[in-house]
Subunit: 714 residues, 2 copies
C-alpha cells in the first residue's frame, strides 16, 4: 500500500514538474510576511543588495498575520536562453497598482508596462523617473522582481496557446475593430514579467491581508519610510540659475520682509565653475564667499541646497581619483562614477562631506541622474545601455539604480553625521523608502503631477509637484495648492528673477515688470503657504507613521478602501496622513467631482458634512485648499511659522471632526537620527464628545507642541 | 635590426589588440562591394536567412568599383555577456540616413535610434512599421547589423572614458543648460550598435563610392527591387468594412460610370466569418457568391484585394493544422503561425492559394503584423516578446520579421504561379526590397507621411500615404496629391460609405449626405488620378530600374546629390524616377519653399525654368501636381486609362525638357515573372534638339507604348 502511494506521488510530482517547467525553486522567508522565491544564478547586484537600512522586523511582526490570495507555489519561474520569465496568478476581478512613479496610468490591469528610468516619460509605456519592478494588488499582496535589468510586465494581457481545445470564454469572434475593442474581459490569469538577459531571478512576495499591509511590509522591509528633517516640510524656493551671492541674499530678505514662509533656498548650476559636466567647485565670480552666505542664511533661518549632477568634469578635483572607478563612457565629457563600487561612492561622499556638508550645506538637488529622453531621438545624453562599470554593472543596470545609489551616497554622509536632510532627486528605484528625497520632473502637466502624488504611495517614493511658470493666475494658484498638498512644497524659479506670484510671464518677470495685482497674488500665495506651515505637525506625524509603520503619507484611496470598487480607478484624489482626503483642482476647474468613500466627511473650508460612498461637486477658491477631513479625526493645526528651527514651538489648534475623535503627533528634535534610539514622544489627542485630552509618552525632553485650543466641527 | 623591428611590431600589435578587444574577426565577400564581418556564434535565423531571392551578382559587378571611406578593419566588434557591440567609424562631417521607414526623423546623425516594429510609432525613438538595422552615410557606404534582435544605434552620441588625458576638444565646460544645448559638435567618432542577447553578430558592409551606389548594392544584394504588377501602379480603393457584395459592385459601377480611374478594390474585415482573430472563410451573410463577385469585377477591369491578418481563429480551417506550429501565445485568441517554420508557412500559403489566389484574388492587405502600440500602455495586443516559436525564434525576434515573413509567404504563392501582385502590409524589415508590398499606417500626420516617402528609399521599402478622412477640402486635395506622387495611390475608405471626395465629413458621408460641391471636388480628384495614370509608364520604368539596378524609385535628394550640403536635411522633397522632383504640400500651404539642386529645372505646371542650387517659393493649386522636371529629361506621359489590363496600350506624349534630352521606358507583359528570363523591351527616347527618336531593344513581342507626340518645353 505504501509503495503504491509513493508511486502515485511521484507520478503527480512528475506531472506537476512538467507543467511548471522550472519548479521547484527555493523559497526563503527573510521577514514576517515576506517570501523570496529564487531560481537560477542571481545577479551580483540587485536593487535589494543596495539597501542602506536593515528591515524593520519588529514592526513587521506587529502587522496583521500574513495572507496571500493564492498559493505561493502557483507563481511560475522559468529561466531560458532569453532571460527569466515570472508568471504570477491573477484573478478576473483584480486591480493592480505600482511600477514606480508612473506618470500616465494608475490602475495597471490590462496594460503592458516597462518601468525604466527616463527623464521625460511621455506616453504610458511605463517610463518614469522612479521605476520599480514592484506592484501591489487590491487583493492584498505585492510582487517585486528583484532585478536591475529592464523588465516588462504584461498585466493580464497574454493568453497562452496551450494544448487541448481552445478556451471558448476568451474567444473574441468579432469581425470589426469596434467589436474587438468593446471586448474588455480578461484574456489571461497571469501577470507575466519578462527579464531579458537574466540568468536567474528573485521574486519578493509581500503578503497582505490587504493592499496597505502589503505596502507597509514593503516599506518596512526596505528599512522603513523616510523621516525628512522637520524643516524639509516647510517651503523650498530655488533661485534663478544666474543669481550671484548678493541676489540670493536679496531674495532671502524678500521672503522674511514679506512674511512668506520659506525654509530652504536652492542654488542652481552656476554656483559651480562648470556644470555640464560638474566641477563641484564654487564659482568665485558668482559666489566669492560661500561660507559667509551659508552662515548669513542660517542666521535668517534658511537652509541652503545645492544643485548638482553626478557627471564629473575633467576640471573637478574628483576627476583624477574617480577616473579609473567610473564607467567606460562619458556624459558631457564627464566621468560617470560607479556608485555600486563602495570606493567610488566613498570618494564622492568624502569630497561632498568635507567641501559642503561640514560647511553647512543642508542638502542637494541631484539632477539628471535619470536617462535622457527615450521618447524622442533628440537631446541624447547620459551613458549608453551597453556601458561597462568596474563593479560589473552594465549601463542598462546602472541606469535603473543610478539615482538610487546617488541618493544612498549622499544620504550616508548625513546619516554618518547624525543630521537629517531632505533632497531633490530626478531618479529613484526599488527599496528607496528610507531615502529623504523627493522626486521632481521637467514634465509639467498639472493633472499628471497630481496623478504622480497618488502613484508615489505605491512605490516607496515621494513626489514634488514643483511650481515653475504659469499660464494664468488660476494656473499658478492651482499648482501652488497641489504643491502645498504634497510631500514637498517647491517653487523652482531657476529661470525667473522674481517669484512667479509677482509676475507669471517669464519675460516680464525677468525684466522686473511685475503684475499690477502682484501684491494681491502674493497675499493669496502667502495664505496657501501659511496653511502648509499649519499642516507641518500633522505631516510630520504622517511621516513618523511612514517611518515606523510603513504607511505612505500620501496614498491612493484604494489603499485605505480596498473593497470599495469606486476607488479602483481614482487617480486624482489621495489621502494625506490618517484623516485628510485631498482632491486638487487644475487651472481648468473652479469646481470638481470628488468621491468620498464610506463614512462621513467634512469639507475643510466650509465645515459642511458629507455622507461618504458618493460623489459630490465641490467648488474651491484659489486661497482655500481642496481637502476633506474624515469624521473621527482630530486635525492638529499649528499657528504658521515662517520657518522651522530646532527650537520652534508649534501652537496647536485641535480641530475636532465629529462627536468623538482622535489624533496623534510625533515629537523629536526634528533633525538628528536620535529617534532611532527611541528619543521621541508620541502624543495622543482624544475628544470624548465633551472635551479634549492630550497624553504624551516617550523620553524626548524638549516639548515642541503646545495645545492652545480645541475647535469642534460638527 | 630585424629582431628589433619584429619586437616593435609585436608591441604595436599588442597595443592594437588591447584597444580593439575582439579582433580579429572573419571577413567574407559574398558579392562585389559587399563584405560580411562575423564574430561569435551567429543566430540560426537572421534577416538575411529569410531572403527569397538570390543576390543579383551580375548587376552588382556593373556598378562603380567598390570604395569605403575607412579601413574595414577599423570597425570594432565585441561580444560580451550582455550581447554584441559594433562600433563603426564616423567622420565629423558625416550624415546618416535609414533605420527603416522612420516616421519622425530624417538625418539620424546625433540621435539614438532603436528601430523596432510598432503599430503607432509616435515620437522619434526609432519605432516604425518597417524597421531595418541598416543605415547609409553621405560618405558613400551602408552598414547592416544582420540581426532580428532589438538593436539600438547611437549615431555619434557616445564618448568613451579612455586612458590618458581628457579630450579638450569635446569638453563642454558650460554651466548652464543654454550653453549645453548650444554645443552641437560631435562627441564621438563612432556609430555604436548595441545588440543585447546576441552571442555573435554579422555586420554587412555595402560599399559606395557614393550613397546611391551603396543603396543599389543593398537592394541588388537583397534580390533586386520589387516589380509590382503593372496594374498595381494604378489606383486602389478600399471599401467600407461592412459593405455587402452588392454594395461593392455598386461602388465599382460608380467608378466606371464616372470615369474615375481604379484598378483595385479592397475588401475589409467583414468579408470573413470572423476577423479578430481570422477565419479566412468568406462570410456568407455578406458575400453569398464570392466567385461571382471576383469574376464580375474582373470583367469591369478590377482586381480584388482581401484584408486579413495572420492570427488564426479557432473556427478557421487553418487552426488545427497550425496549432502545433505556432507560438506559445495567442493573439485575440488566435494562433500566431511560426512563419520561420517552412511547414507552417507552407500550410498557410497552400490554403491561401487554393481558397483565394486560384479563384482570382489578386492580392492581400496584411494588417496588424506589426506589434501593438508601445507608445501607450493601452490597446495591448500581439504576442509578448518572450514568446517561444517552434523554429526557436523568440517573440522579440519574431516581431522584427513577422511582417517580412508574412510578405514572403504570400509572395511565394504568386511567384510559384508566375503571377505578379501588389500587397498592402503593415510591417517589414531588412532585405525586403524584392517584395511587392507597400507599407501603410494608422497614423495620419500628412507631413510625416511625406517624410516616410523620403525615408522609404533608404530602406528597400515602399510606402503608401493612404487617404482616409479629411478635415477640409484642402486637406483632401493635398493628401490626394501626395498619394498620387507615391508608390501606391490608395484611398482607404474602410469607414466611409461614399468616397471622401463626395463628402469629407464622416457622419454625413455615412448618411449619404453629400457635399454641395461634391461633383466639382470629384472632378478635381479625377484630374489628379488621371495624372497618376499618365505617369504609370514612367513609374513602371522607375520600378524596372529598382528591380534591375537597385535604384529606389522614390528617394531623398541627398541620394542623387550627396555632395550638396543643402540636401542633407531635406525631408520633404524627393526624386521620382530619374527626372522628377516632388515637393508635396500639406493642407496648411498653398505655396511652399522648394530647394532645387544644381542644374536647371522646370515647373511641370507652368513650364517655367529655374536655376538649381537655390530655394524658390512655388504655389500649386489643388488640381496641379507639385513636381519639377530636371533639364535633359524626356517625360513619357500616357493618355490616362481607367485601369490597366494585360492588353492596355499607352498612347504616349514625350515631354522634352531642355535642348537635348533622354528618357527610357520598360515594356513587358506587366503581370508575370517572364521578365526574369529577359522577356522584355528597353525603350530609349532621345531628343537631339530638333526631333525625337525612339529605339526599342529586347524580345518582348507585344508592344505596349505608342509614341503619339513630342512636346518640347524650353
Amino acid at each position: 500500500m505504501k509503495t503504491c502511494f509513493t508511486f502515485l506521488s511521484l507520478l503527480l510530482l512528475a506531472v506537476f514538474t512538467k507543467q511548471a517547467t522550472s519548479q521547484p525553486y527555493k523559497i526563503q522567508q527573510p521577514a514576517p510576511g515576506v517570501e523570496i522565491i529564487s531560481q537560477g544564478v542571481i545577479d551580483k547586484f540587485t536593487p535589494y543588495t543596495f539597501c542602506s537600512e536593515p528591515p524593520r522586523i519588529k514592526a513587521m511582526s506587529q502587522l496583521a498575520p500574513a495572507k496571500l490570495p493564492f498559493n505561493i507555489n502557483d507563481i511560475r519561474v522559468k529561466v531560458t536562453q532569453r532571460g527569466a520569465l515570472v508568471d504570477i496568478p491573477l484573478d478576473d476581478d483584480e486591480h493592480l497598482y505600482g511600477f514606480g512613479l508612473q506618470i500616465g496610468t494608475f490602475n495597471q490591469r490590462g496594460l503592458r508596462k516597462k518601468p525604466i528610468v527616463n527623464d521625460n516619460p511621455l506616453n504610458d509605456v511605463g517610463y518614469t523617473h522612479g521605476p520599480t519592478t514592484f506592484y501591489v494588488s487590491n487583493k492584498g499582496y505585492g510582487i517585486l522582481i528583484n532585478t536591475t535589468r529592464y523588465t516588462t510586465f504584461y498585466c493580464g494581457t497574454t493568453a497562452m496557446n496551450i494544448s487541448g481545445k481552445p478556451d471558448e470564454k476568451t474567444t473574441y469572434g468579432g469581425n470589426s475593430v469596434l467589436e474587438l475593442y468593446s471586448h474588455k474581459s480578461a484574456v489571461s490569469h497571469y501577470v507575466e514579467a519578462d527579464v531579458p538577459g537574466a540568468k536567474g531571478i528573485e521574486v519578493f512576495v509581500f503578503s497582505g491581508p490587504d493592499i496597505l499591509t502589503a505596502l507597509q511590509r514593503y516599506n518596512l522591509f526596505s528599512g522603513g519610510g523616510t523621516m525628512p528633517a522637520l524643516w524639509g516640510l516647510g517651503v523650498k524656493y530655488r533661485v534663478k540659475a544666474d543669481f550671484k551671492q548678493d541676489e540670493v541674499k536679496k531674495m532671502a530678505n524678500y521672503f522674511r520682509q514679506n512674511q512668506i514662509p520659506c525654509d530652504v533656498i536652492g542654488l542652481e548650476p552656476k554656483w559651480q565653475t562648470t556644470a555640464y559636466s560638474c566641477s563641484y567647485v564654487w564659482n568665485p565670480e558668482y559666489f566669492p564667499s560661500p561660507q559667509h552666505l551659508i552662515d548669513s542664511m542660517k542666521l535668517q533661518g534658511f537652509h541652503l541646497n545645492l544643485w548638482e549632477h553626478a557627471f564629473v568634469n575633467p576640471k573637478s578635483p574628483l576627476y583624477k581619483p574617480l577616473k579609473e572607478r567610473s564607467g567606460n563612457y562619458l556624459v558631457w565629457n564627464g566621468l560617470v562614477p560607479d556608485f555600486a563600487d563602495t570606493s567610488a561612492a566613498g570618494t564622492f561622499a568624502r569630497y561632498h562631506e568635507n567641501t559642503f556638508v561640514k560647511e553647512g550645506i543642508s542638502g542637494f538637488k541631484l539632477d539628471e541622474c535619470d536617462n535622457s529622453n527615450l521618447g524622442s531621438g533628440h537631446a541624447v545624453w547620459s551613458f549608453p545601455e551597453h556601458s561597462e562599470f568596474p563593479s560589473g554593472l552594465s549601463g542598462e543596470q546602472m541606469h535603473q539604480v543610478f539615482g538610487l545609489l546617488y541618493q544612498k551616497t549622499i544620504y550616508d554622509i548625513y546619516k554618518k553625521r547624525n543630521t537629517r536632510t531632505y533632497l531633490d532627486v530626478r531618479a529613484s528605484s526599488s527599496f528607496a523608502s528610507p531615502y529623504p528625497a523627493s522626486l521632481y520632473s521637467d514634465t509639467y502637466d498639472h493633472q499628471e503631477y497630481i496623478g504622480m502624488i497618488v502613484n508615489s504611495g505605491f512605490a516607496g517614493m515621494l513626489w514634488s509637484p514643483e511650481v515653475r511658470e504659469s499660464t494664468s493666475i488660476a494656473d499658478l494658484m492651482r499648482r501652488s495648492q497641489t504643491a502645498v498638498l504634497s510631500a514637498q512644497t517647491l517653487f523652482n524659479s531657476w529661470y525667473l528673477t522674481n517669484p512667479p506670484w509677482l509676475q507669471i510671464k517669464i519675460d516680464e518677470n525677468n525684466h522686473n515688470q511685475l503684475m499690477e495685482n502682484a501684491k494681491q497674488v502674493e497675499a493669496d500665495i502667502r495664505k496657501l503657504l501659511n496653511f502648509r506651515m499649519s499642516l507641518v505637525p500633522y505631516l510630520y506625524n504622517a511621516f513618523a507613521d511612514y517611518h515606523f509603520k510603513g504607511i505612505p503619507p500620501f496614498r491612493a484611496l484604494v489603499m485605505d478602501y480596498p473593497t470599495d470598487k469606486n476607488t479602483f480607478n481614482i487617480a486624482d484624489e489621495y489621502m494625506i496622513g490618517k484623516g485628510i482626503l485631498a482632491a486638487p483642482l487644475t487651472e481648468k476647474q473652479n469646481e470638481r467631482k470628488v468621491y468620498l468613500p464610506n463614512g462621513n466627511w467634512y469639507d475643510y473650508n466650509t465645515g459642511k458634512k458629507f455622507t461618504g460612498g458618493q460623489t459630490y461637486t465641490i467648488a474651491t477658491s484659489f486661497t482655500e485648499l481642496p481637502v476633506f477631513v474624515k469624521e473621527g479625526t482630530i486635525l492638529p493645526l499649528a499657528k504658521p511659522v515662517e520657518n522651522v528651527s530646532p527650537n520652534t514651538k508649534f501652537e496647536i489648534t485641535c480641530c475636532v471632526y465629529g462627536d468623538k475623535a482622535r489624533g496623534t503627533l510625533f515629537e523629536d528634535d526634528g533633525e538628528t537620527f536620535d529617534l532611532e534610539q527611541g528619543n521621541y514622544n508620541s502624543l495622543t489627542l482624544t475628544y470624548d464628545g465633551k472635551k479634549g485630552n492630550l497624553t504624551r509618552s516617550g523620553s524626548f525632553k524638549n516639548h515642541r507642541y503646545q495645545i492652545k485650543n480645541w475647535e469642534v466641527i460638527k
